[in-house]
């Protein structure tokens, strides 16, 4: 089973296209919308998890989205964590319900599993030293 998390960024003129519908209907992709910010007059963003038994269909679906002018990025591109400047306190883990941010034994250093991240953005403001950024 192939699976990936991507952020689709819609320029204003593509926001009215029912892209998610076509991904499901025409390409047979199982999609789960994790986060959406849609404004008809502005850029829209959609964080989706896509699942299909075969990666080719996923790529075809994403190529379709690209053909409309929608940009496609893996979720890890949208999330930036400055590990070097991080103080590894763990405050961000209080709000990370997806379990992407974790801290614990043995070394008590923060770890980030980008594949679990839903780009909810709660960690951005919970981080006391502002070393996490999400462009969403």
């Amino acid at each position: 089973m192939a699976r990936c998390r991507v952020v689709l960024t819609f320029p204003p003129d593509t926001v009215q296209h029912p892209v998610a519908y076509h991904l499901v209907k025409d390409y047979g992709l199982k999609i789960n919308i994790l986060r959406a910010r849609v404004d008809l007059n502005e850029e829209g963003k959609l964080l989706i998890e896509i699942e299909n038994h075969d990666n080719k269909s996923i790529q075809k679906g994403l190529d379709y989205a690209r053909s409309l002018g929608v940009s496609v990025e893996l979720v890890d591109k949208e999330l930036q964590w400055d590990e070097h400047d991080c103080i590894h306190c763990g405050a961000c883990t209080a709000v990370c319900r997806s379990g992407a941010l974790r801290i614990g034994a043995p070394d008590w250093k923060l770890t980030l599993n980008k594949q679990k991240c839903t780009a909810c953005g709660l960690c951005v403001s919970a981080c006391p030293v502002r070393v996490i950024r999400i462009d969403f």
Binding site: I87, C89, A91, I103, W108, P128
Partner: protein
């Protein structure tokens, strides 16, 4: 046979490179393998450390005199007000003071971090002008190379234990203990546990006024008891306080500190604070001190306090240990509550190791306290009273 060491004997071993130093984590392992009496016989110094948010922090600066000179009446550093109700060009920048232009984003703590990093700081001051200080306003830039003295002076750091924070209410609350999720959704704690300085010397035998310490990457000193120093709280059978107890006022040269160990922080919807790294070497003077430094996370208990109740006396819901907190969950009211650390254990460990190497390399000698911290003293509250009521006691 009983063991005893003097500060002078330990310092002589430091000078000759023969001193045996371990961290407060390492000593726990050593005691588990070889026993406490082995520790007493063989270990000279145990290094303790903490790296946490400490609001009661700040720094004194002397800017030097301008031409013509000014008696600063109000001063701002990067738009953050500093206190200058002292001599003409002396000021105190407090960690939690917020920028007038970028509140909840930049504050005194950031000024301190920027200063340590060597970045230029915009200084603006106004005055009423006097015959001896005619200038009425000034705007310029300073760095750590342009000012005279710059020393951190923190009235309250390094709390001896601290309660765990939970939230019983139905909404998420934003506190200095971080984001607390509703209906006991999480539990935050902020102590280095077995590595924490005052928990390794619970009755302040070796940590007192004059103790030489690691402060923000520089050598510093314990200057006084910290504000709200409260040694009389309940203690467990190991003599360890089960809630916030002793505190330290500390001082050190800001210019030689390292941004790695002094970091500005914004706590969401609460304000600005400063993460301060502190390390304290504890001499193993005798078996009693050996017992003290061998305490483990499972020996250290702390109270669980409900921050969902916004009052001075918040309800205490129970007690837990640092071992349980470090497991990732605590049991509370039959529920498994995920735990969240707020102070950085990895940084505290790093500091304990740096301090260990300072002592092994002879960079730092131990200083016996010249005055002990109080061991009997309680905490007063602020009551709202009339002049008549306070006059009548």
């Amino acid at each position: 046979m009983s063991v005893s060491r003097t500060y002078e004997e330990i310092n002589e071993k430091i000078r000759s490179g023969k001193v045996v130093v371990v961290t407060a984590d390492e000593v726990v392992e050593l005691a588990a393998e070889r026993g406490v009496s082995y520790v007493a016989k063989n270990v000279d110094v145990v290094t303790t450390a903490t790296f946490g948010a400490m609001c009661s922090s700040g720094a004194f600066l002397n800017f030097g005199h301008a031409e013509p000179p000014i008696k600063m009446a109000k001063v701002w550093l990067n738009d953050v007000p500093a206190y200058t109700g002292i001599a003409a060009v002396d000021a105190y920048i407090g960690a939690t003071e917020m920028s007038e232009t970028r509140p909840f984003e930049y504050g005194g703590a950031h000024v301190i971090e920027d200063f340590i990093a060597g970045r230029p700081i915009k200084l603006r001051a106004v005055s009423y002008g006097t015959d001896c200080y005619p200038r009425k306003e000034i705007e310029t830039y300073i760095t750590k190379d342009t000012v005279n003295q710059a020393y951190m002076f923190n009235p309250r750091n390094s709390y001896q234990n601290y309660p765990v924070a939970v939230n019983s209410s139905a909404r998420t609350i934003y506190t200095y203990m971080g984001t607390l999720l509703p209906r006991f959704g999480n539990a935050s704690y902020s102590s280095a546990g077995q590595l924490s300085p005052l928990l390794n010397d619970p009755y302040y035998r070796t940590i007192g006024i004059g103790t030489r310490i690691f402060l923000g990457g520089a050598i510093g000193y314990v200057a006084w008891e910290g504000t709200q120093h409260n040694p009389s709280v309940e203690r467990n059978d190991k003599g360890l306080p089960v809630s916030s107890a002793g505190t330290l006022a500390v001082i050190g040269d800001l210019k030689s500190m390292d941004r790695r160990y002094v970091r500005a922080a914004v706590i969401q919807r609460y304000g600005v604070t400063l993460y301060v790294g502190i390390g304290v070497p504890i001499p193993v003077l005798d078996e009693d001190m050996a017992e003290r430094v061998c305490i483990r996370d499972e020996d250290i208990e702390t109270s669980i306090v409900d921050y969902g109740v916004p009052h001075r006396s918040r309800p205490v819901l129970g007690r837990t240990t640092y071992k349980e907190l470090r497991s990732g969950f605590i049991e509370l009211k039959g529920k498994r509550v995920p735990t969240v650390p707020l102070s950085s254990l990895s940084k505290a460990r790093e500091i304990a190791h740096v301090l260990k190497s300072w002592i092994q390399n002879g960079r730092m000698l131990l200083q016996e306290p010249i005055q002990k911290l109080p061991t009997q003293q309680t905490l007063k509250s602020l009551e709202i009273v009339s002049l008549e009521e306070i006059d009548n006691g």
